[in-house]
Amino acid sequence: MAMAASSRLFWASRAAAYLRISTFPRAFSTVLKDLKYADTHEWVKVEGDSATVGITDHAQDHLGDVVFVELPEVGSSVSQGNNFGAVESVKATSDVNSPVSGEVVEVNEKLSEEPGLVNASPYDKGWIIKVKLSDSGELNSLMDDEKYSKFCEEEDKH
């Protein structure tokens, strides 16, 4: 049994490395490498001067089933640390704060009809906005996947 368990763990960690996800012992939330994270549980994926923003797996898990996503207007400005929209679940409404500053160039219209994408696919189909960055230096103040994982662990410890 012990050998089977350790073998499963070995293959699980190999799979995690291949899929570029971090795993940590006690939590069930997924954290992706190559993304940056805010301490208000939003993620950002940067490609050149374009960034995609959403809420993390930790956040969607704690919020519950999402029933409504309030999206900003395309063309509006967002600034780091300030709210640009909201996610409403069956339990609560939560501001979504932008990890970066810039101009909103696209919003995920699918969330109007399928808000549950935020739960089912928080890092992929559940993305919320795309931003043209105005200051890439702001990324330095965000957490990488390891730091964010530890941050979530610390929060969940209490």
Binding site: N83, V90, A92, E155
Partner: protein, 253 residues
Amino acid sequence: MAAAGLTRATSAARPLMRLVTMSGVPVLQQLHLEERLLRTTGDNWCIINDGTAPPTIVMGVSGRVSELVEIQPVLRDQVPIVRRFSGGGTVIVDQGTVFVTFICNKAAVTGLQPFPRDIMTWSGQLYGKVFDGFGEFHLRENGRLKQHHVSTLSISIFKYLWFMSTSIMLTAMYYSARKHTDFLCRMKEYMPSRSFFTDGVIAALGEQFSVEPTDIETVLSDDDDDEFVPSTKMLSEQDLEGIASSKESLIRV
């Protein structure tokens, strides 16, 4: 995830909780005050409004009017509808409603993450102390209590602050097609008086916070933020007539 407990803090360690108590304030004015306190201060607040007038329908931020309210009777009886800035369900409130709202920063409750589960657990423990000895009242998700439904709940999270508003119906009405009479009850049948309830909330808070009563006029006069515009709004007759005449149930006003 371990929930934060409602433990008695030493007086030296208790964070400050500013308390505003009101009576009969219109719910729109109450919500504007709450939204302003939430958005422009970083303090912990408890706002109690004992009864409100006129009777008003209050909806959450994303509620669709056409799905939740019978518009024709509302227009006929001129019942105001307010869409608040926070989430949660739809309810009609009146003189029989007691509102208790908490606005707390991240440091207010040790170990409490600003997420619904922790907030619900903390508030459930607080109300458990208030209702102790008065029957089977336990705050549950969406304000449904075991056997009796006496409240509605709205939780919102704003960066490092969380907001929880509970409207306790001492006598309750629902202005909708749904029938709730099977499980509604009157709180007054269980508690000796309204002040017993509100005093109980303040006493329970005092075990965890250093409660500082604050006059509402002082709050408003201290407010230098003239640029703040609340998003809570009352729906106009034109808004409602537009919804009533439109076949588009997706219109959100």
